[in-house]
């Protein structure tokens, strides 16, 4: 006994009767839902009872990971800005001068 080959070829407008239908005919053809097909599809794609729990855990883990990375990157940016400020400040100091205003007692 041979089984028919699955139809792998994509339908083209030339070979596709659906392309010939106008909107009213389309509505009519779609009016009857295939409940059996819907049930099978829902079984096929059933996410399982624990999907919400799994997602909550995954999301929490991902956010914590991203939070740590974000904090590290903020810290790095702060360090870089601070270093740049110090270096810029020092570069603008005139030679031979200090931050001391010269009114010290010694």
């Amino acid at each position: 006994m041979t089984r028919p080959e699955p139809q792998n070829r994509p339908l083209t407008p030339d070979t596709d009767p659906v392309a010939e239908l106008d909107e009213a005919e389309l509505d009519l053809a779609l009016a009857e839902d295939d409940h059996e097909m819907q049930v099978r599809l829902r079984q096929l794609l059933d996410p399982g009872e624990l999907i919400n729990q799994r997602t909550a855990q995954d999301v929490d883990r991902a956010l914590r990971g991203q939070g740590i990375l974000g904090a590290a990157s903020d810290l790095l940016a702060t360090g870089w800005l601070a270093a740049r400020l110090i270096l810029t400040d020092e570069a603008h100091q005139p030679t031979g001068t200090t931050k001391d205003d010269g009114h010290g007692t010694s």
Binding site: R3, V18, D34, R40, L44, L45, P47, A56, G70
Partner: protein, 184 residues
């Protein structure tokens, strides 16, 4: 003063943000998973898409303008995220056999299904895999999620005429595949 990036992070999560995130997950995670699994045929990738979608939606909640329902908006994010996942998988040349393998494994544990060879679900899984990606999304959004044609068009950013045409074509392809297996 240093610029502080505006982002929702664990450190900024208070009870209200936690509540919003949990509500998003409770109301939409299952639908997002079904859409992602229907599009990708891969459990692991589908769960990645669910996680990514929930985080994206949660972070964008402030910018949600209410032009569509939250459900449609979340499913649109999920669809785009799944397309990105499909592109990444194509780049890695991985085969989308996961869903089919899973169905066949569950058949193997069921003597009746084993006796019958391939179950209806395996046939349906194969037939779904042969549909183009857009048609798979339309089938899931209509037949599984029960969205209206207008909501599907809004979610996928296509015309309702295209939704109807693709849906009818896909339905017929799936019905033919199941029938040809039942009546060889």
């Amino acid at each position: 003063m240093l610029p502080i990036p505006h982002r929702r992070s664990p450190s900024s999560r208070g009870p209200e943000l936690d509540r919003q995130l949990n509500q998003l997950i409770e109301e939409h995670a299952a639908a997002v998973h079904q859409l992602a699994l229907g599009m990708l045929h891969d459990q692991g990738l589908a769960e990645d898409v669910v996680q990514e979608t929930m985080i994206k939606a949660w972070r964008s909640l402030d910018g949600f303008r209410g032009d569509s329902s939250v459900r449609t908006w979340v499913l649109r994010i999920a669809h785009n995220t799944a397309i990105d996942a499909l592109r990444r998988r194509r780049d890695l040349s991985a085969a989308p056999e996961d869903l089919r393998d899973q169905v066949i494994e569950s058949d193997a544990a069921d003597p009746a299904a084993r006796a019958a060879g391939r179950s209806d679900l395996a046939v349906l899984s194969d037939a779904m895999a042969r549909l183009d990606q857009l048609s798979r999304s339309i089938v899931v959004l209509r037949e599984v999620e029960g969205l209206s044609y207008g909501e599907i068009a809004d979610t996928l950013d296509i015309s309702t005429a295209m939704v109807k045409t693709r849906l009818l074509r896909a339905r017929r392809a799936l019905q033919d595949a199941v029938r040809s297996e039942e009546d060889p």
